[in-house]
C-alpha cells in the first residue's frame, strides 16, 4: 500500500500495530511485539492475572530477566551470586514462580544471558526495527535506537500486555531532534543527549515521541544510539527513535534471535521502508550542532540541569522565573554547590561506570582506553558494572576486566547496580559520584548521595585523577579518536 501522504518513522510503526485505530471516544489498541519483564514492576501484575483467572496470552513474545534488585557482588565458591537482602531474595523468588507458573522464559540471576533488560533485548537480537516493545521500566526507550517504538509502562499496563499482548494508547505527538555535523574527539553520544536535555528541559518532550536524526546521529554506533534513545525519557519523551540503516542491520545480523536466510532478506526489505519519508511533518523540531558540543556534566538534581564540563554552575538569581529559581536553589543546596563554581577539579568519592545507559561493551572499551596502564586515584571507589553476563564475558575475553582491576577498580557482576541503589550498591549520604547512569535525582544513587552524570570517558578520566576531569585533558586524541 502506498501511503497517501509522507509519514514519519513513528507513524509507520504505529500504523502497522493498530489492532483498532483511535477514535474520538476510545484510545488506539496497539499490538505489542515484545514484552520485557523484570522483578520489580511485575509482581503485582501477575497477582492481577491470578485474581482474574487470566493466562499470559503470548509467552513467546515475553521475556523476563532479573536486574534491578539483584546484587552485583562476586559469586560464591559454588558459582552462585549470593542475595543477602531478604526482601530482594523474596522478590526474585516471586519472579521465578511467576515465570514458571505462566510459562515465561527467564534469564535467572547469574546465568549466561542475564543482565539489564535494555541490554539483553538488543544483544539477543530480540530488539529489531519496526517492532513495538514495552517493559515496566521507563528506559525501555533504549530500544528505539533500532527504529522500534519502545516505551516504559506501569504495572497495570504490564498486566494488560501479559493478558492481551495489547496496550491502549492515545497517539503521541512527534518531535524531530536533529544533530547536525560531526562530533569532536572526546565528545560522545552521552554528551549529545545531555546537551539535548539541557536545551529542552526534563519536561520538554512530554507528550512527544522523539526521532533523532542528522549526520551526528547517523555517525554513531548502535551502542551510542542506544545511549541517546535511553535518555529520551529524561527529556520527558516516552520514546525516542532512530531510523534503521546499515549500522542497524550490521548490529542485528547474526544475533541469536535475528532472522536468518530468506527471512533476513525479507526483514531487511521491510526495514528499509521504515525511515521517515521526505516531506513528512513533525509537530515540533529542535536542532543542535555537533561541533558546538563538548563533554557534558550535570550539576543539579535532574538530568536537565547539565552544562559543558568547562562551564560554571549557574546562578539561581539569573533564572527566568520564581519556580525555576526555587528549583535551582533547592538543587544546589542538595548538591552542596555554589553559583559560579567550576566543577572541573572538584573531588569525588565514587565513580560508577554502568547502567542501561552506558554498560555495553563499547562503553567499557572507551573507559578502558583511558584507564589502561593507569591507576585509580587514592581513596576513590571506582565500580565498573557490565550490563549483562554476555557483556561481562566479552569484556573478560578482551582483557578489559584486567585493565580495570589492575587500575584499582571493582569489576562486578551484571545488573542495574548503583544506578538505582536498591541492591546494596549505593552512595553514602553526602558522597559525590561521577556516574555514567541516567538520573541524578536526589537520593537516586543512595539516600543523600550526590550524582554528576557524565560519559564513560569523563567517568574514566575522573577515576584516574579523583577530581572531575575533562577527558580531553587526560589523553591524546589518538586514544579516543
Amino acid at each position: 500500500m502506498t501511503p497517501s501522504s509522507p509519514e514519519t518513522l513513528f507513524e509507520k510503526v504505529w500504523n502497522e500495530h493498530l489492532v483498532r485505530p483511535q477514535t474520538d471516544d476510545l484510545p488506539a489498541v496497539l499490538y505489542i511485539d515484545l514484552h520485557l519483564v523484570h522483578e520489580v514492576t511485575s509482581p503485582q501484575a501477575f497477582t492481577q492475572l491470578r485474581e482474574r483467572g487470566l493466562k499470559v496470552r503470548r509467552p513467546d513474545r515475553t521475556l523476563a530477566t532479573m536486574d534491578h534488585s539483584t546484587p552485583t557482588t562476586p559469586r560464591g565458591p559454588d558459582g552462585v551470586i549470593p542475595v543477602v537482602d531478604q526482601m530482594a531474595a523474596a522478590q526474585l523468588d516471586v519472579m521465578r514462580k511467576n515465570c514458571a507458573d505462566f510459562g515465561i522464559r527467564l534469564f535467572d540471576l547469574g546465568t549466561r544471558n542475564q543482565g539489564i533488560v535494555h541490554v539483553i533485548g538488543p544483544e539477543q537480537g530480540l530488539t529489531q526495527p519496526g517492532m513495538t516493545i514495552v517493559c515496566g521500566d521507563s528506559h525501555t526507550s533504549t530500544h528505539g535506537a533500532f527504529g522500534a517504538l519502545a516505551f516504559g509502562i506501569g504495572t497495570s499496563e504490564v498486566a494488560m500486555v501479559l493478558a492481551t499482548q495489547c496496550l491502549l494508547q492515545n497517539k503521541p505527538k512527534t518531535m524531530a531532534v536533529r544533530v547536525n555535523g560531526k562530533l569532536d574527539p572526546g565528545v560522545t553520544a552521552k554528551d549529545i543527549i545531555l546537551g539535548i536535555i539541557a536545551k529542552i528541559g526534563v519536561g520538554g518532550g512530554t507528550g512527544y515521541v522523539f526521532e533523532y536524526m542528522g549526520d551526528a546521529i547517523r555517525g554513531l554506533s548502535m551502542e551510542g544510539r542506544m545511549t541517546i534513545c535511553n535518555m529520551s525519557i529524561e527529556g520527558g519523551a516516552r520514546a525516542g527513535m532512530i531510523a534503521p540503516d546499515e549500522t542497524t542491520f550490521d548490529y542485528v545480523f547474526g544475533k541469536p534471535h535475528a532472522p536468518a536466510g530468506v527471512a533476513w532478506d525479507e526483514a531487511v526489505t521491510h526495514w528499509r521502508t521504515l525511515p521517515t519519508d521526505d516531506g513528512a511533518a513533525f509537530d515540533a523540531e529542535v536542532t543542535l550542532e555537533a561541533h558546538e558540543l563538548v563533554p557534558m556534566i550535570t550539576y543539579g538534581t535532574n538530568p536537565g540541569m547539565g552544562m559543558p564540563i568547562t562551564a560554571r554552575v549557574p546562578d539561581p538569581d539569573r533564572t527566568r522565573d520564581v519556580s525555576e529559581k526555587l528549583a535551582l536553589d533547592k538543587a544546589l543546596t542538595y548538591m552542596g554547590l555554589q553559583p559560579g563554581e567550576q566543577l572541573l577539579g572538584k573531588p569525588v568519592d565514587v565513580v560508577f561506570i554502568g547502567s542501561c545507559t552506558n554498560s555495553r561493551i563499547g562503553d567499557l572499551r572507551e573507559a578502558a582506553k583511558i584507564m589502561r596502564g593507569r591507576t585509580v586515584a587514592d581513596g576513590l571507589r571506582v565500580m565498573v558494572v557490565p550490563g549483562s553476563q554476555q557483556v561481562k564475558a566479552q569484556a573478560e575475553a578482551e582483557g578489559l576486566d584486567r585493565v580495570f582491576r589492575e587500575a584499582g577498580a571493582e569489576w562486578r557482576e551484571a545488573g542495574c547496580s548503583m544506578c538505582i541503589a536498591m541492591n546494596g550498591d549505593q552512595l553514602e549520604p553526602g558522597q559525590y559520584a561521577v556516574s555514567t547512569s541516567n538520573r541524578n535525582f536526589e537520593g537516586r544513587q543512595g539516600k543523600g548521595g550526590r550524582t554528576f552524570l557524565a560519559s564513560p570517558l569523563t567517568a574514566a578520566a575522573t577515576a584516574i585523577t579523583g577530581v572531575i576531569t575533562d577527558p580531553r585533558q587526560v589523553v591524546g586524541e589518538r586514544e579516543y579518536a
Binding site: 489492532v19 471516544d25 476510545l26 484510545p27 489498541v29 499490538y31 515484545l34 520489580v40 514492576t41 503485582q44 497477582t47 509467552p59 513467546d60 513474545r61 515475553t62 534491578h68 534488585s69 530482594a88 523474596a90 522478590q91 522464559r105 530480540l126 529489531q128 517492532m131 515496566g136 516504559g152 509502562i153 506501569g154 504495572t155 497495570s156 499496563e157 498486566a159 494488560m160 493478558a163 492481551t164 499482548q165 495489547c166 491502549l168 492515545n170 526534563v202 519536561g203 512530554t206 507528550g207 520527558g236 516516552r238 534471535h257 535532574n302 519556580s323 525555576e324 526555587l326 528549583a327 533547592k330 541503589a421 536498591m422 538520573r439 535525582f441 536526589e442 537520593g443 537516586r444 539516600k447
Partner: protein, 203 residues
Amino acid sequence: MEPVTQFSGKIVALPINDIDTDQIIPARYLKVTDKNGLGAACFSDWRYHADGSPKPDFPLNKPEHQGAAILVGGHNFGCGSSREHAPWALMGAGFKAVISTYFADIFRNNSLKNGLLPVIVDEETHRQLISLAQEDPNTSVTVDLASQTVTLPDGRQVTFPIDGFSKHCLLNGVDQLGYVLSLDAQIGAYEEANPQRVSTVAV
C-alpha cells in the same frame, strides 16, 4: 476499582517543579510484591530525618495539613521512573488527586488506572491554589469528574482535560483491562494477519 465521581478535600502544596517518582517513592521501597503499605514511605526522603523522625517543616508533616486529600505539585509532576508505586504511595498517603500544570506521561497513565486523578490547570489557577494552600491550610476545593471541573473556595470553576475513555472507566469504576479482553477476536485476527516477528522461546 471504586468509582471516582466528585469529592471535596483540603489541598496541600508542594510547589517544586519536576518532582520525580524517585522522590514520591524511593527505589529502596520497591522490593515489595504487593501494592500496600507504601503510603508511609511516600516522599520518605523529604519527609523524614535519617533516624526516621519527621521533618517538621515538610508540608505533609505539618499538623494543619493532616487529612489533605489533594496535592498541588509543581510543573511536570511525576517525571522519571515508570514505577506505579508512585500513585500507590500517594493514594496510600490519602491523596485522591494531584493538581499541576502538566504531568509526566507515564505517571499520568499510571494514576488514571488507579483512580488517582491527575488534574491539569492553567498557570494562574496553579499559582492561586498554591497561595491558598499556604495562606489557609483549611482551604478545600471540589473536584468533579463528570463536569471536569475544580471549584475553588471563591466559587470560581476551572475545567481540566481528561480523555473520554479514562473518564468513563473512572466514573464507572471499571478497569481498562476488561475492555481490551473483550477484543479477543480482533486481537486474534491481527495476530493471524501479522506473522510473528520474534519468538522469545526459540533458540
